[in-house]
Symmetry: C2
Subunit: 210 residues, 2 copies
């Protein structure tokens, strides 16, 4: 595999989707796939697919297509999904629980080390074997543990201060679900899931067909 | 306001974010804002902002900037957020509950008419005043009610068949949280929140700084 140079954010955004479709193909026992067949499945043009995957080199072969296993493993390697990530969740309402449940399916890659909340009724309860701690213990925990990913499922008003504590204690990436745009310094990765943005976009397309 | 012609999906995707920032400005009592000031807040270039908002015409005035109220209301009108939407939720696990809680904050625009689940332990329970029904009653309910938005927070395996029932009964838009790409016919709006895609993108940026 050639060393990736600068890959555009648009390509990176598509990679997890390629990965999902490839996993489906693997489950069906399909060993190889052409860019044309991927195009029909995924709705991207075949040339877009070839161009996307060419960023990483060496996966496709003319007249053969792509080896599904190799491509899927290659994408995992590019994304960094062969490693193990230590995560914490701050905010254990329904959304925090949903995200926790979600990560339990991917225990090999993502391990919840701790969960924090501000609500005394929630502190001390167990979720998937992890005892919820008071959020006042967050920086203590972070000082003693290497945490890769901090998940923020708090209210909007406390999200930035929680992010600041995480960043100050060396958390490398933040996955934000609070409905606000967080600021983090360079060198810290940030992804946000803005439910309202997605819903409002849907409403637009209900009223204005694509 | 000039009648919008064909607005690019990229602009539509940014509109809800403009909306959030404008609501913040309104809350702070700020009445007007320049494209330069919006640029500093939002990280888009000032020329990008002028170009985006120019799609809808009439909001900006040279030397004055944008009237925050008018722009915010204009964006609401474009997105269709002045109307009232009847929604249902299928799949009442943690994620379904989280989405339900989330929409309770926006009761003026979004009203949950019904919730459905397959689990007998959940059927019959109340969430925010709505009694969860068995999913076998979904098509009956849809036959008797005009539903604008169907929210799918089921497992991956049942998501497409739920979507098919919704589409068959005239639901206009689907908001999908199940980790699979749904197929809907033309004329039905579809938005998906793929948690795994977002997490995998985050992992990439933890390992490869932007």
């Amino acid at each position: 595999m050639k060393t990736p140079t600068k890959i555009s954010p648009a390509v990176i955004k598509r990679l997890p989707r390629y990965r999902r479709f490839l996993i489906d193909l693997r489950k069906k026992g399909i060993e190889r796939v052409s860019s044309g067949a991927l195009s029909e499945l995924m709705g991207y043009t075949a040339s877009q697919i070839r161009q996307d995957l060419n960023n990483f080199g060496g996966f496709g072969q003319q007249g053969y297509g792509y080896n599904v296993d190799a491509l899927s493993e290659g994408i995992d390697a590019i994304l960094g999904l062969c490693a193990h990530y230590h995560i914490i969740i701050v905010g254990v309402g329904n959304l925090g629980r949903a995200v926790a449940n979600y990560t339990y399916f991917y225990k090999n890659e993502f391990e919840i080390g701790a969960m924090f909340d501000i609500d005394p009724a929630v502190i001390g309860t167990q979720i998937g074997g992890v005892t919820v701690q008071g959020v006042d213990l967050l920086s203590d925990y972070l000082s003693g543990h290497d945490v890769d990913i901090g998940i923020i499922t708090t209210s909007r008003s406390s999200a930035q201060s929680i992010a600041d504590v995480m960043v100050g204690c060396g958390v490398r990436g933040i996955w934000n679900f609070a409905p606000t745009d967080l600021e983090v310094p360079e060198g810290v990765a940030l992804q946000a899931v803005h439910l309202s943005d997605s819903l409002h976009e849907l409403v637009y397309y209900i009223n204005n067909q694509k």
